[in-house]
């Protein structure tokens, strides 16, 4: 094709009057080259506008600077936050993100893993612990560090960083009971594995409190949204009008519940308690501010990259190493039922 121009390493070598090998070395580890040669090479690179060909490098070395990231969806602010953390973690490294979305399909995930692995990535980040057996096998056989993010669970493939969604939801449910709510319900959308575990945590709390009878749960496989929160809450009220508190699978739903409650003149928090999950920034800004379970999505992404970089730098990060980032219940006015509300921090 366009065989015009395109400066190669040999061109640089010629201009700097050294061998190509020396240029290659200067590029990869300048300390291995004499200062004099280094200077000449640097100048030649600058003058010629040389840019290395990553494909050639990858073919020769079997390595790349690519970090593959495989997540269910990008239009979910939770993953957007994770991506942000990944991006921040990448600062100062030559690593580049290759992004793939599974749309919550294990089969798509498997295919993506195959494609991404064929690129010989420097590292791979995948969401969750529920890969198909074939996907797990692929990842287990990968020559690069693999980080499972979002949750910690038994038997990580390699590295893992996340939190226990079961514990988070259980803590939230316990909070509702502690506030005096007696008929809490669970609202869930996009019931992915993590949502399922949140639901399980909710149920565990209710059972422990002897409230396990009704199973006051409304869920849908639909993707989450604020509008969906409105609708799910309407469904819930039609089915279980005695509900006095709602634990939402995520903050979007919680916001929808708040709006719908307002539309129906249901007083929050006195008649209805609302709790979200993740503690999106808007939870503290809402009126009333909404209680939520804070998770640090950015830290998750950043930490995943940190683990990969450490492994690449030859540092020790044994297989099976899992980092539990935990969660924090942030009580706010939306669940402040029987207490003095004189002082109201947001």
């Amino acid at each position: 094709m366009n065989k015009t121009s395109r400066i190669t390493l040999s061109d640089v070598a010629l201009a700097a009057d050294v061998s190509p090998i020396t240029v290659s070395r200067a590029l990869r580890d300048p300390s291995k080259v004499s200062p004099l040669a280094r200077d000449r090479i640097d100048r030649a690179i600058r003058e010629l506008g040389y840019v290395p060909n990553p494909a050639a490098r990858a073919l020769a070395s079997g390595r790349t600077d690519i970090v593959g990231v495989i997540i269910p969806s990008v239009s979910n602010n939770v993953f957007a936050d994770v991506m942000r953390g990944i991006d921040e973690g990448l600062q100062g490294s030559p690593l580049i993100v290759q992004l793939g979305t599974t749309r919550y399909s294990p089969l798509t995930e498997e295919q993506l893993i195959r494609v991404f692995l064929s690129q010989r990535p420097a590292g791979l980040i995948v969401a969750g612990h529920d890969q198909s057996p074939a996907a797990r096998a692929l990842l287990a056989g990968a020559e690069c560090p693999v980080v499972q993010i979002m949750e910690v669970g038994p038997d990580p493939i390699d590295l893992a960083v996340g939190l226990s969604h079961f514990d988070g939801a259980r803590a939230a449910a316990e909070h509702l009971l502690a506030q005096g709510y007696r008929a809490p319900a669970f609202l869930g959308a996009q019931m992915d594995p993590r949502s399922q575990r949140r639901l399980a945590g909710f149920r565990a709390c209710l059972e422990a409190a002897g409230l396990g009878g009704d199973d006051p749960v409304v869920t849908t496989p639909e993707p989450s949204s604020v509008s969906l929160g409105c609708r799910l809450f309407a469904d819930l009220m039609a089915r279980l009008p005695q509900t006095d508190a709602v634990l939402c699978n995520n903050d979007d739903l919680a916001l929808g519940v708040l709006f719908e409650a307002r539309r129906r003149n249901i007083a929050v928090p006195s008649r209805l308690g609302i709790c979200g999950f993740n503690d999106h920034e808007m939870m503290s800004a809402a009126e009333p501010p909404i209680t939520s379970v804070a998770t640090d999505r950015r830290a998750m992404g950043a930490q995943a990259i940190r683990l990969i970089r450490a492994r690449l730098a030859g540092q020790d990060a044994p297989r099976g190493h899992a980092v539990d980032l935990g969660f924090q219940l942030i009580p706010r006015a939306s669940t402040r039922r029987n207490r003095s509300s004189a002082n109201r921090p947001t």
Copy 2:
């Protein structure tokens, strides 16, 4: 290193009893290979578990299946939506997304363009029209299709798909005036070029209406958030208490204004009109529902990919081809001041 295993094209050729070239051909264009050879090759590929090496392919052909996407930020739901559209547009193609974020820095953008271009991508998508001259030069010299997204403007580098933010904001301001608001203000965060143009559209409307004196504008370079909407609105009310409507740079701010107005017992829409920008899903769910300027971010991403795929398929898409996706003002209760509100579509 690990020279063990790793099946190559030659291995497949050997097993299928054809030459490597024929295998290569079968992979790229099966119709050019006899059905018999094709069968044998397919079987060999399956049995050996052969996966092509993209680096080798890239080096030999000078092409890759990579689409570079360069956006300011991922933790901004506008770009998350665009990414979603890109992702959808990619369906059924072998293209893979490589993602880079500029953090709104032209210098970082330039570096990213350089790095991404060195990969010989199949296409490049960049946000906005305000690249540095050096970045523009790089893009103009690119051998792949380049799509500028988010807005349409004069002198696109190659392809473009977006809308006029100036027009969108002006239409919103006109709507506020038409509703009888007489002292509209503008609230803006993260004042990137598109926000600047929205502000300009707002000002143009006010001037045309003879209301250009005060310049009722509160902006900040801080990234946008709902909480920030609360704070900016507080600033605004302190400075210009006569304000009776707010045009927000985006929906996050608008939601923050709604919450803050509620906290202050400022009636919406009678005492205060609120209008957002982008029409995020939550605008229709809010109570009251919030007027906004709808933009189709997903379509933007999908269309960008469509243009790239068309160009790659050899179809005609002349340089300078710009697609204006337009916008649509969605009037809702938050600006329904003097009208009968008997029927209230959301």
